[in-house]
């Protein structure tokens, strides 16, 4: 069961990446590991560095994928992003966090991709 979920996740990330590249995003890094977690996709778009969190779902009964990015998760993503920026530079440059939600049918066929830019703002 766990393996199935992981496979679905990996498929979703691949589809998300294709989607972004078609939009002109340049991939910097995939599945970047940090001591606090993982960043799904790190890409460059124009002058901004974009950190993308990918959410994949096969059925909609568990709620829209975007809902699963809770406040806690948001804080983690920020932490991970800051770690990357500290290592590779650019903390004060323009960067943001996007969320891509991938909806697959039960037999793993792409139904919908939604891209939310600037999904996570500074929690003050």
């Amino acid at each position: 069961m766990g393996r199935e979920r992981r496979e679905v996740g990996i498929l979703g990330e691949r589809l998300a990446l294709e989607f972004l590249q078609k939009k002109g995003y340049r991939l910097k890094c995939k599945n970047f590991r940090t001591p606090f977690g993982e960043l799904d996709i790190v890409a460059r778009h124009g002058s901004s560095m974009v950190f993308i969190e990918v959410r994949t779902r096969t059925t909609s009964s568990l709620g829209p994928p975007l809902q699963s990015v809770t406040r806690v998760k948001q804080a983690h993503i920020i932490k991970n992003a800051l770690f990357y920026l500290k290592r590779y530079g650019g903390i004060d440059s323009y960067w943001r966090i996007d969320v891509i939600s991938v909806k697959l049918s039960y037999d793993r066929i792409l139904e919908n991709i939604e891209h939310i830019e600037n999904a996570v703002e500074d929690i003050y």
């Binding site: 004060d92 440059s93 960067w95 600037n118 703002e121 500074d122």
Partner: protein
């Protein structure tokens, strides 16, 4: 690059300049406001974002920082919505820079970008000159209030988009023009008149004297004798307000949130009648960003304290300084505020605890000790500032049913005005306006008595035991009575009338 838009905050009753700076930088996108904003302002971030988007502009996906300078003054309220939105748009280059330095912007924003009214618009308009600005953009509902002020340009706006287009010279906004004098004249009718009062000629005369010389009054009488009715009509015989006086009062009322949209300039002298359970803060002013108290709300008007002995002693104590200086100073940790409080005091009380001591018809059930205690509940210092005591007797039956009406206020006011202008020219170089404000040395100079009156005064001191303090008051009131009579020298009948207004002195002696 930093963008600056100028707005204003009201501290106490005066307006100060607030600079709304915005900076757009890198880092995780955010929208932060600093400069001691209160909760309403912190909440405004969502309002402003929605308003900007719904006006057809985009909110920058960047780290946006707004600073409300100066940083050490607490900012309150939603008046900063418009200037903050404009500051962000200016920083983005959506608005052109030209001549923004001459403008003050204020307004609350709705989610759809429309402007909503603010409080204190008149106070801000009055402060524009001191801020070196002469153009005021504000919600159209507040425009008439602000336009009463001379020498500034008032631009009423309906929405954020309209303001942006106006600043970019794509759209014109017609200046709000209103004549302060016209507004004043339109609002200057009193609803009450001395004509409505039957009988009580002695009291009416006493109030006429009080109005002419600016003397404070104490009305003493049984319940139902008409004390409140008479007090309410005192403003109708005071001189007409000048536009400067009206602006002063309207500013105070505007800050207190009392200005009605159709009556932006107060045209009739205020009459405030607080209940005797009032607290000291509500009477003289208080709170964190102190709101004006009843004494400031009755500035240039009348403060009526009905049931004077029922007021808490400590509350009456705080009246002393304002009555002396015509203003009240309230100290807070960060600031000291001084509010004007030049009012005429009229107080009313019963002659004894049951109320019927002087009534010819009803029995009084109070013991002499009770009466003594009751009368002494009014502090000495407060009594010291009341020049005229008037006994208000119960109306006789024939007066009640008399169909004839009394003298109208207008006639009485003409006499009052004449006496006031006499005082005005007499004290032109002395910094005093009324006889009631004369100091002891000035008394000697201006109150010349003829031989008869000197004799009468001597008698009064001996026989009636008039104290030195009361002596001064007698002179002041006689001076006013003589002015009403058109005489420069005080004559005996002026003195004797003034003596009749010192009934409490006589009663307290038993």
């Amino acid at each position: 690059m930093i963008a600056k838009i100028y707005s204003s905050c009201v501290l106490g009753i005066d307006a100060y300049e607030v600079t709304v700076e915005s900076d757009i930088g890198g880092g995780l996108p955010a929208f932060n406001i600093v400069g001691l904003p209160d909760t309403a302002i912190r909440e405004s971030r969502d309002r402003i974002k929605a308003a900007i988007r719904n006006s057809g502009f985009s909110f920058p996906p960047r780290k946006v920082t707004i600073n409300l300078a100066p940083a050490y003054i607490k900012k309150e309220g939603a008046t900063y919505d418009l200037p903050i939105a404009l500051s962000v748009l200016l920083c983005e280059g959506v608005i052109e820079e030209a001549d923004l330095k001459e403008y003050i912007f204020c307004g609350e924003l709705s989610l759809d970008g429309r402007l909503k009214p603010i409080k204190g618009a008149l106070a801000i308009a009055l402060g524009l000159k001191a801020m070196d600005k002469d153009k005021f953009v504000l919600p159209e509902q507040n425009a008439r209030e602000a336009a009463a002020v001379k020498d500034i340009e008032v631009y009423p706006a309906r929405s954020l988009k309209e303001v942006v287009d106006f600043m970019n010279k794509k759209v014109a906004i017609r200046r709000e023009l209103s004549s302060g004098d016209q507004l004043l004249r339109r609002n200057s009718k009193y609803r009450t008149d001395f004509r409505d009062v039957k009988g009580q000629e002695h009291v009416k005369r006493g109030l006429e004297v009080a109005a002419a010389g600016g003397h404070n009054v104490l009305l003493i009488g049984p319940p139902g004798s008409g004390k409140s009715m008479l007090a309410k009509r005192l403003p109708t015989i005071l001189s007409e307000m000048t536009i400067e006086e009206s602006l002063e009062i309207s500013k105070i009322h505007s800050v207190a949130g009392l200005v009605m949209s159709n009556k932006v300039l107060v045209g009739t002298r205020p009459f405030r009648s607080p209940h005797h359970t009032i607290s000291d803060a509500a009477l003289v002013g208080g709170g964190t960003n102190p709101s004006p108290g009843e004494i400031s709300l009755s500035h240039n008007g009348v403060l009526f304290l009905d049931e004077l002995p029922e007021f808490k002693k400590n509350v009456l104590e705080v009246l002393r300084q304002p009555m002396e200086e015509g203003s009240v100073t309230i100290a807070r940790v960060a600031n000291t505020f001084t509010y004007p409080a030049k009012f005429m005091l009229i107080a009313a009380m019963n002659p004894c605890p049951c109320g019927y001591f002087t009534d010819p018809k009803r029995e009084c059930h109070c013991s002499p000790l009770q009466i003594q205690n009751y009368l002494s509940r009014i502090s000495g210092p407060l009594l010291d500032r009341i020049d005229i005591h008037l006994e208000v007797p119960r109306l006789k039956l024939e007066h009640l049913t008399d169909k004839r009406r009394g003298e109208p206020s207008e006639t009485i006011r003409k006499r009052v005005d004449k006496a006031r202008s006499t005082q005005g020219s007499r004290y032109r170089n002395d910094g005093v306006y009324f006889n009631s404000r004369l100091e002891s040395d000035q008394l000697e100079k201006y109150c010349t008595l003829d031989k008869e009156s000197e004799e009468l005064l001597k008698l009064a001191i001996l026989e009636l035991g008039i104290s030195a303090r009361a002596y001064d008051k007698l002179l002041k009131v006689s001076r006013t009575i003589a002015d009403l009579d058109g005489k420069e020298t005080i004559e005996a009948h002026h003195i004797s009338e003034a003596i009749s207004y010192r009934s409490l002195d006589r009663n307290l002696r038993g």
